[in-house]
């Protein structure tokens, strides 16, 4: 994947990618985990390892293993999603914003 080489020399705060990432703070973020659940919450914090903290998170879970399914939800509040169990991560943004916000071209 592009941009996977570490930034050299520049302090993390100056990295354009980190600046971009910082712009995602407080946006609605939808994180999928290994067991099929999704968590929707406000992006609160992330560390180098990619562990994410979401605020006011809601858990969505499928009511069926197979076939047509509906989603049950419940509020969880502040949650930490370890990077190891995260398998997808989406943010809520308008189509126009999408390119400027999420592209990893520097």
């Amino acid at each position: 994947m592009e941009g996977s080489s570490p930034e050299e020399g520049s302090g993390a705060n100056n990295s354009p990618l980190v600046t971009k990432l910082r712009k995602l703070l407080f946006r609605r973020m939808l994180v999928g985990v290994e067991d099929g659940r999704f968590f929707l919450g406000l992006f609160h914090c992330i560390d180098k390892q990619g562990n994410i903290i979401l605020q006011d998170a809601i858990e969505y879970r499928s009511t069926r293993r197979s076939g047509p399914s509906s989603w049950e939800q419940r509020g969880l509040g502040l949650i930490l999603i370890p990077a190891t169990c995260r398998c997808s991560c989406h943010v809520d943004c308008s189509i126009e914003e999408q390119m400027s916000l999420l592209s990893i071209d520097k």
């Binding site: 994947m1 980190v18 999928g32 049950e72 930490l80 989406h90």
Partner: protein, 732 residues
């Protein structure tokens, strides 16, 4: 590059590396869910070790309390191997209705469900959540599904209604503060409009089954039964046994529900009826127990009766604990071990006996007997449900038993005849405040002992503050009169009595606080000395206050007595009781003083009794134990140094000379006459005599041997009394 998904198919999860968000989770208006994973991965690489990306409102401390997803101890929603939802479980046939198309098997399985539910209910009462116990039953979760099956339906309905009644009793009593898991029913279908009809449904089912039982007993040839009557099931040899097993279970539920409802009637109006239902419950429990052999002899696969949650020993169908775990949002998913059916039955037996004790309470309006009753009740460590019901009976609508206002209770306890009907007294600010404190006190006394002790320590402060306020008000209003010998005004007399009364209650609370420490095993034997010394000081203060109150009280009633002879007789009876009670306190005082001095002398003279503790000094432990009492100035001017002064020079020969234990024995013996009508007090007096006697002998032996004798061992044992220790002299 960023990729966007506009909602994948309905199914979530699946392969790793970017599962599409389900359509049903909406993004904002004119917005899409855009994949941020590549950016995150790239940006994280640019982060320094330990660096965080966060907003201004971030606090590391708050972040520590975040729930960690996929952590088996923190994430109750973690996907287990079971079903994803109740509906999915039902579709997979884990809770069929009917339970079997073979009617004999159906009844058998229904009985298993009933038994397992009883075990779940008992487990819930013993500190687990409702969701993981009773509501692990899919039939209870979807009660409407059971309506074609009247037997199961009626049982589930009354079960749910009972749970609801118990939850509301415990939350009304607020005793759940100690065990908040108990009332947590968030997300469970606990309340339902139709549940008031549960009894009529139950009654009609009960009637049907008892008709079936009669029918099969009346028919000499069992074969005929099944043709002519609609039987419970199809095997004529088992009909009677199954009918009996079903009936006692239904009847138990009916009477238990009735008993709980009757107990909640205000002013104790339903207590008599409740006792009848409790007796019926107990006899049905007995019948249930008797059905054990029958049920076990007709089931194939069997678990041992010691561990099985059903009488038959078969595993019940229709239960899944993991289904509900996601409803327990903030609590960790605990593993619940459901009690065995036999343990559940004996739990309910115990609970019913406790409820019966509550129902047979005389509703005596005298404060002293109320407090005495609660303390005695607590001694047997009643379960939460029983304590909640006791509290609801005692305090209802801000009144004692929902009947007597606490101003009246105080007036009666003051033993001043003129104030009882006095409007001014009833609305006096201090009296109202004291009434509120009494309500709190009674509620706290109904809590479990550990929690109770902590709370008692805290409310001591409130009581001592009100005593100070009363004293100040007394000085302010009657300051100039205080020293004059003029006839006291009624108002002043009442104020004085109120002050003394408040102090007496404060001392009572302090003593309860200290003695609970023994029951909770909070003191080490090397600390008994200071505890008994503190108890002695408080007993002394309590006796002093009480004596003054009795003397001033009887002075005034004697004056009044000239007018009303009857009144006088009644008063003197009360005076006599009060002075016997005062003597009893003196007896405790002697005992406490004797024990404190004996232990101090042993410590001073014998090496075996040195306070050896490397962690903290005696003074520190004194503060740890009595900090709350000292903060509340109960009693005033007591410090570690006074304790040290009064015990530093204690020696065995002096303690022998003082003869504290002989004095305690003498008082106890003399009191037997006054308490002849009260078997409990008599028993207590006998215990005190025994404690005093044993300690007196031990003391004499120590005196003869010499406390310095290196072979001397004096273990302390609570063999006779819960709070007063007995010294046993041994030589090694």
């Amino acid at each position: 590059m960023a990729t966007n998904y506009e909602g994948g198919g309905g199914g979530g999860g699946g392969g790793s590396g970017g599962a599409a968000p389900p359509k049903s989770i909406p993004s904002g208006d004119d917005a899409v869910w855009a994949d941020a994973a590549p950016l995150i991965e790239a940006a994280c690489n640019d982060l320094q070790e330990g660096e965080l990306v966060h907003g201004e409102n971030f606090s590391l401390f708050a972040a520590m309390s975040a729930l960690e997803i996929m952590d088996p101890k923190m994430d109750p929603g973690i996907e287990s191997s079971g079903y994803c939802s109740v509906d999915e479980a039902i579709e997979n046939g884990i809770a069929p209705v009917p339970l079997s198309f073979d009617r004999t098997v159906d009844v058998k399985h229904t009985l298993d469900v009933m038994d397992h539910l009883l075990a779940c209910e008992a487990t819930w009462h013993n500190g687990h959540s409702l969701a993981q116990t009773v509501f692990s039953c899919i039939y209870i979760l979807r009660i409407e599904r059971t309506s074609p099956h009247p037997l199961l339906h009626s049982y589930c309905r009354v079960m749910r209604a009972t749970c609801n009644a118990v939850v509301s009793a415990v939350s009304d009593a607020r005793t759940h503060e100690e065990e908040d898991l108990f009332t947590m029913s968030y997300g469970l279908p606990l309340k339902d409009g139709g549940d008031d009809k549960c009894l009529s449904i139950l009654n009609s089912v009960e009637e049907t089954v008892s008709r079936q039982l009669r029918a099969c007993k009346a028919q000499p040839s069992k074969k005929k039964v099944l043709e002519e009557f609609e039987s419970l099931q199809t095997n004529p040899d088992l009909e009677e046994g199954y009918c009996r097993a079903v009936l006692c279970r239904l009847r138990f539920r009916k009477h238990f529900y009735h008993a709980l409802t009757c107990m909640r009637k205000p002013q104790g109006r339903g207590l008599e009826l409740a006792r009848k239902h409790i007796a019926a419950c107990l006899s049905e429990l007995d019948n249930m127990f008797k059905s054990l052999d029958f049920l076990r002899s007709h089931s194939f696969y069997q678990e041992s009766a010691v561990t099985s949650t059903t009488a038959s020993g078969c595993r019940p169908i229709g239960f899944d604990v993991s289904l509900n775990s996601r409803l327990l949002s903030p609590t960790p998913p605990r593993a619940v071990k459901v009690l065995s059916w036999i343990d559940a039955v004996s739990y309910f037996e115990k609970l019913l006996h406790y409820l019966d004790t509550i129902c047979s309470f005389s509703l005596d309006p005298a404060l002293e007997s109320v407090l005495h009753f609660i303390v005695k009740f607590q001694l047997s460590q009643p379960p939460l449900v029983a304590r909640a019901h006791l509290q609801l009976l005692l305090v209802h609508d801000g009144k004692l038993y929902g009947r007597d206002s606490f101003s009246d209770v105080i007036a009666r306890s003051l033993a001043l005849p003129d104030v009882t009907k006095d409007k001014e007294f009833q609305t006096n600010e201090f009296v109202l405040q004291l009434g509120q404190l009494l309500i709190n006190l009674i509620k706290i006394l109904c809590a479990n002992t550990a929690w109770q002790r902590r709370k008692l320590g805290k409310i001591l402060q409130d009581w001592s503050v009100i005593s100070i306020q009363l004293e100040l008000a007394l000085k302010r209003e009657f300051g100039e009169l205080l020293n004059s010998s003029v006839d006291e005004s009624v108002c002043m007399k009442v104020s004085k009595h109120l002050l003394m009364w408040a102090q007496e209650q404060t001392y009572w609370i302090a003593l309860r606080f200290l003695t609970l420490g023994f029951e909770l095993q909070l003191y080490s034997p090397s600390e008994y000395c200071m505890v008994y010394w503190y108890m002695y000081v408080i007993f002394m203060k309590q006796v002093e206050t009480m004596q003054i109150r009795i003397v001033t009280g009887s002075d005034s009633s004697r004056r009044k007595g000239k007018k009303k002879r009857d009144h006088h007789a009644r008063d003197s009876g009360r005076d006599a009781m009060a002075s016997s009670y005062c003597l009893l306190l003196q007896c405790y005082m002697c005992l406490s003083e004797g024990l404190a001095m004996m232990l101090a002398a042993l410590r001073n003279e014998s090496n075996a009794f040195q306070m050896l503790n490397i962690f903290n000094s005696e003074q520190e432990r004194f503060i740890q134990h009595f900090e709350l009492l000292q903060k509340a100035q109960v009693p005033e001017h007591i410090s570690y140094h006074i304790f040290k002064e009064s015990t530093a020079h204690a020696c065995i020969s002096d303690v022998v000379k003082h003869n504290y234990f002989r004095e305690a024995q003498r008082i106890a013996a003399s009191l037997k006459g006054s308490f002849s009508a009260d078997p409990e007090r008599l028993a207590e007096l006998r215990l005190i005599e025994q404690v005093a006697e044993h300690n007196r002998i031990a003391l004499n032996v120590i005196n003869q041997v010499g406390a310095g004798d290196p072979t001397l061992r004096v273990p302390l044992e609570f063999t006779h009394h819960n709070h007063f220790v007995v010294a046993v002299v041994k030589r090694s």
